[in-house]
Amino acid sequence: MMALVRSEFRKVTTTKVLLWLTIATVTFSALNVVLLVFLTPRAMDVSTDVNFLLDPAYVTNILGAAGSSSIFILILGIIGMTGEYRHMTITSTFLVTPKRPRVLIAKGMAYALLGATLGLIAFASSFVVTLIALSREAHAPVDATIAIQILVGVVLAFAIYAFVGVSVGALIRIQVAAVVGALVWVLIVEALITVFVDWIGKWLPGGALDAVLQTTNVTGRGGEDILPTAAGVIVLIGYAVLFGTLASLTTLRRDIT
């Protein structure tokens, strides 16, 4: 299995997609920090006369912006799997490893490690940007314990979310359909369900992701609307396993012609 995981790392490091998605992740996380520090509080100031930056919960939110780029991690996983079908490299992949579920598991593990690494990078960049941005403002202290909690959450969330992406890609093998489908689901469908039937929302992939991240800035959910972190981890892993198992029983078995 380690040989297969190494092969998956080789696949992703010999193409450009990882580089672009790393840039996207870092940029988006940093941009969200800047948005939260400079734009939102000022805009609010006019009407409410409150300085959000003095609120510790708001500072926590700013650090949590690292998790806002999670969608890129999902797409990374999807592209990793669907790219094999798109470029027909799946032929040589299955020639070397004809027991196909092993490919899916190896890819999931490799991408979980990539996701964790990107989580670390995203947190590092948003943490640095937060410190720089806050340095010239009056603000509530940055709590080290909370920062570590967020770091662990982001790393864990990105790791599992990348695996979910791989499983989704195995289930929906057409790259454009899988990426667009995932975007529509995360940004529209799940957001709508969460607004109208919130007790379902917390059990959906995005809800579970928020539970792992334990931040509210992504979907605007409050503390009581989300699962405990541990439950979120289990539910999110459950989705990765569910989609992966479904794929193993259906699409992964199809003829490669």
Binding site: R10, T14, H87
Partner: protein, 310 residues
Amino acid sequence: MSPQGQLLTVTSLTKAFGKVQAISDLSFQVQPGRVTGFLGPNGSGKTTTLRCLLGLVQPTSGSARVGEHDYRELSHPATVVGAALEASGFHPGRTARGHLQVITDAAALPAARADEVLALVGLTEAAGRKVGGFSLGMRQRLALAAALVGDPGVLILDEPANGLDPEGIAWLRSFLRARAQEGRTVLVSSHVLSEVQQTVDDVVIISKGRLVQTGTLDELTGTGISKVRVRTPNAEVLRLALTAVTNDGVETRVEIVSDNEILVVGIETAQIGHIALREQVELHELTPVGNDLEALFLELTAGGNPGGAA
């Protein structure tokens, strides 16, 4: 000591894609130590058969085995079977070396093996270049290199000569012959018999998913019906004289091609020349066209008439 080849056994293989019957009750064997040509027109089911052998396509019924096993049961398939299918399975942004190292990693082979097989197929200088810029011929060589990484005893190559220049084809020919002489199994598909005629020992010919003929190339040559093309200004006179000939146990026949050309079946050139002299008929051409493998191949595979050849 190079790895030994294995017997490939296709038994009652049948595959339908929806309503399209790609392969019907196909059975044949491929022997180690020989180069076998797997022949048939485009769309006759060659690629589907190979993909069944390689575990990429699930047969509707029947089996296609490598030695005693289904391909999917092999624990280290890259070291048993090397396959080069169509030349499109490359990520365009990956280098030739990168493409091969993805395979060496997955097969738990040393990464240095990538450069070795690139040298073997003459791609050393292109090792660091992206596959997206490769010509068809280079892609074919890279696909062959990928088949060779595990030094397998069985080589299965789908139309490997496509896109190769004459020099490349000659190289491929001697390369495959050498592999077979080492005792390996070499199965090469083609839709042009003349392309592999000088390379193969055995042939398996299919048409519309059914077996048409299998055996050695020599046996196939033997089944060819010899014809002689005769051009003469006195075609009608010669035709009458030749029609009168009766050769023991051989069907003789004269076909009129045009006013001054006939095709003679079942009579040797010497005998035709002799009769022409006797009849005082002027000859402009006397050419044996029989045993033309390409014509035979077309005849065998035309119209999907598997009953036509036994």
